[in-house]
Symmetry: C2
Subunit: 361 residues, 2 copies
C-alpha cells in the first residue's frame, strides 16, 4: 500500500472541490472533514469517497455553491435546508447554529434537509468540544439495512456520534453505525476472500448469510444485535430513531426513499422530502453544572473505566475515542495508507482536473 | 400463574406507597408507573419491584416525602435533585419541567440526581406525546455490565426510551436496555433450567458463558452486540453515553458507584455523587415543522415499515412499541399474570401493612 501525508491528501481534495466550483473556504472545510476520517482510521469515509462526490456533482446531484438557509427556528431548534450542498459543509454550518443556540439558551438542536453524505459523524460531534459543549451528530443513509424480521432494506447504517469534553483526559468520542458492522468491513472480507461471521448480513430472502458479497446480491446489513435473540430489535430502534430525527423532523427523505450515495443509482422518482437528512446538537456543560466540576467528574469516569481489569486474554479496556486517537498518532507519523483502488481513483481525478497527484511519504 | 386486574394491582401499590408515607398524589403516580410496566408486558419493572422499593425505604434509602428541587437551570435545561424520592415520581416531575421548557424555547432537557430506580423508561418518554412533543428518557442502573474487553462490571443495563407522536398511526415508542438482554431474560431461563445463548453473559474472568446464573456468580451482562466481532463496543458506547448524561451532567453516582437497587447490598462508602441519575428530554415537533405535516410523514414512515416484506418464516415487521401495545390489549382483557414469587411478595406486603390482597380475575 502507498502512504500519503494527511496534508498532501487534504490539499488534493481541496483543489478538486475547488475545481467542481466550491468556494475556497468550503473546499478546505470539506477536505478537512475527509482528512479527519483518514487520520482517525475510518478509511471508508475519507478521501476514498472523493471520486463519489465528484460523480454526484457530475450528475447534478451536488450543488457546489449552496445557499444554506434556516427555514424554521425557535430559541433552541432550527431546520436548515442545505440546498443540495456537500453534506461535508452543510453539517458543520448547521452545528455552528446549534452551538450559537446552546450559547444562548443552554442547548441547540438542528435538523437538516436537502443534504447528502456528511462524512464521519464524529467530526461534527467534536466541533462543540472547543467550547466546552457536548456534541451530538447523526445522519440517515442509503437503505441497505433490513429491520428485524424484514427482508426489505429500509434503513441506512445511520450512525450516531456523541462527543463529551473531559479535563486532563482526552474527550469521550463515540461514533458508530447502528448496524453490527458498516459496509467497509464487508469490503475488507471480500478482498481477503473470507466469510463473514453470522449476525452481520442476510440474504435477499432474509436468511442468515456469511457471504460478504450478499449485500451486493440484494441481501441486507443487519441492525446492531444481528438477530432477535441478540437484540437486533434494539439496533433497529436506534437506526429508526436516527432516520426520524434526521429526516421526518427536517423534511428530508427517510427510509427507502433516502437517495443513494452512488451516482449510478438514481434517487426515488417519488421523493417524500428533500435530499438526505442529518440531526446535530450541542449542549453547554455549564447549562447543567460548573464546567470544571463536570470535567473533573469526566476525568474520574474515564479513569475508572480505563483502569478496569481486562478480561483474560485482553490487553486493556478502551474509552470511546481511544482507537481513533491511536490511529491518528500513528498516521500523522507514518502517513495515510491508501489501497490501490483508492489511489487509482485519485490518479483518475488528478488527470481529469489537471491537479498534481498527492505526495507519498 | 394467577391473574390480577391492572386496577386492583394499582390500588394495592397505591395503598402500600401511602403506608410508607407517600402523599396520595405521589403514591398514585408511583403505582401508575409500575402498572404501566405490567400492562406493557415488562414484568421485571412492574409490581414485582414493589417489595424492593419497600425494603429500600426500610433501610432509609428512599425518602417518601421528598422535596424535589431544581438546583440549576437555563431556558432549555435544568438539573433536578430528587431528594432521595422514588424515581417513579422524581422522573415524571423532571419531565414536566422539560416539557415546560420545550413549550417556551422548543426543547427541554433535565438531568436528575439523588434519585433511585424510575421504573420503565418508556413511561416517562411517553409523557410528552400528549402535547405533540417527542420524549426521551434514560437512566443509569446498578453495575452488572462489563464494558467490551473488561472483566469488571462498570455499567448498568442503562435503558434508553424515545417516544415520537404520529397521526392516525400509534406513536413510535422505542424502550430498550443497552445490553443484549436485561436481567429478566436470565431469570426466565433459570426458572426453565435452560442455558443462555452466547453473547448475553460472561464469567467473572470475562470468558463467554451460557450459564444464566453467571451474573449471580460474579459474571456480567454484556453490552448490546455481545462481543467485539458483533459490535459490543457500540453497546458499550450507548451504555456509557446514558451513564454520563444521567449522572456526570447531574451530579449523581456513575459507573461502579451507582447504588444497587437491592437493599441487601450497601451503596458505596465513597460516593462520587448523590443517588442514581436519570436524563429526560422533550422536543416540540412544531419547533421543527408544522405538527400536522410532521404527523403525516410519521404515518408514512410507519406505513412503509409496517408493509415491509417479512423475512421467510416471519409473520410481519413490527414498529417500535407494537409488542407492548399488543400486550396491553391482551392484559387489559385477561389481567396481569404474576409468577408465584411475585404474588408471594404481595402477600407478604399485604400482611405486613394490613392491606387487602389484590383481586384476581
Amino acid at each position: 500500500m502507498e502512504h500519503f501525508s494527511a496534508d498532501s491528501l487534504s490539499d488534493f481534495s481541496t483543489a478538486i472541490f475547488k475545481k467542481i466550483g466550491c468556494s475556497t473556504e468550503q473546499a478546505e472545510l470539506a477536505a478537512r472533514v475527509l482528512a479527519s476520517a483518514d487520520l482517525r482510521g475510518i478509511d471508508s469515509h475519507g478521501i476514498a469517497r472523493l471520486i463519489g462526490y465528484v460523480r454526484l456533482w457530475e450528475k447534478g446531484r451536488i450543488n457546489a455553491r449552496p445557499n444554506i438557509t434556516t427555514v424554521h427556528q425557535t430559541p433552541s431548534t432550527a431546520v436548515v435546508d442545505g440546498d443540495q450542498g456537500l453534506g461535508l459543509v452543510v453539517a458543520p454550518e448547521a452545528m455552528k447554529i446549534a452551538m450559537e443556540k446552546a450559547a444562548k439558551v443552554g442547548t441547540g438542536w438542528v435538523a437538516i434537509r436537502n443534504s447528502n453524505h456528511f462524512g464521519i459523524a464524529g467530526y461534527h460531534a467534536m466541533l462543540p468540544l472547543q467550547q466546552d459543549m457536548i456534541g451530538v451528530a447523526m445522519t440517515n443513509a442509503s437503505p441497505l439495512v433490513a429491520p428485524t424480521f424484514s427482508k426489505d432494506r429500509l434503513l441506512g447504517t445511520n450512525p450516531i456520534a456523541v462527543a463529551i469534553p473531559a479535563g486532563t483526559e482526552p474527550p469521550f468520542v463515540a461514533d458508530f453505525a447502528t448496524t453490527t458492522v458498516a459496509n467497509g468491513k464487508l469490503e475488507i472480507l471480500q478482498r481477503k476472500s473470507q466469510s463473514a461471521p453470522l449476525g452481520w448480513i442476510q440474504t435477499s430472502d432474509g436468511a442468515p448469510s456469511q457471504n460478504p458479497k450478499e449485500v451486493a446480491n440484494g441481501g441486507a446489513l443487519l441492525p446492531l444485535g444481528g438477530d432477535k435473540e441478540h437484540g437486533s430489535h434494539k439496533g433497529y430502534c436506534l437506526g429508526a430513531w436516527v432516520d426520524i430525527f434526521s429526516a421526518v423532523l427536517s423534511g428530508a427523505n427517510y427510509g427507502p426513499w433516502v437517495p443513494p450515495f452512488v451516482a449510478f443509482l438514481e434517487p426515488s422518482a417519488n421523493p417524500v422530502g428533500k435530499g438526505m437528512g442529518h440531526f446535530v446538537g450541542a449542549m453547554r456543560t455549564d447549562a447543567f453544572r460548573p464546567v470544571e466540576e463536570f470535567k473533573q467528574h469526566m476525568d474520574q469516569w474515564i479513569g475508572a473505566f480505563r483502569s478496569a481489569q481486562p478480561a483474560d486474554g485482553q490487553e486493556k479496556v478502551l474509552i470511546p475515542g481511544d482507537p481513533e486517537r491511536e490511529q491518528e498518532v500513528l498516521r500523522k507519523k507514518q502517513g495515510i495508507p491508501l489501497l490501490p483502488p483508492v489511489s487509482d481513483s485519485l490518479r483518475q481525478l488528478s488527470e481529469k482536473f489537471g491537479i498534481a497527484f498527492p505526495a507519498k511519504v
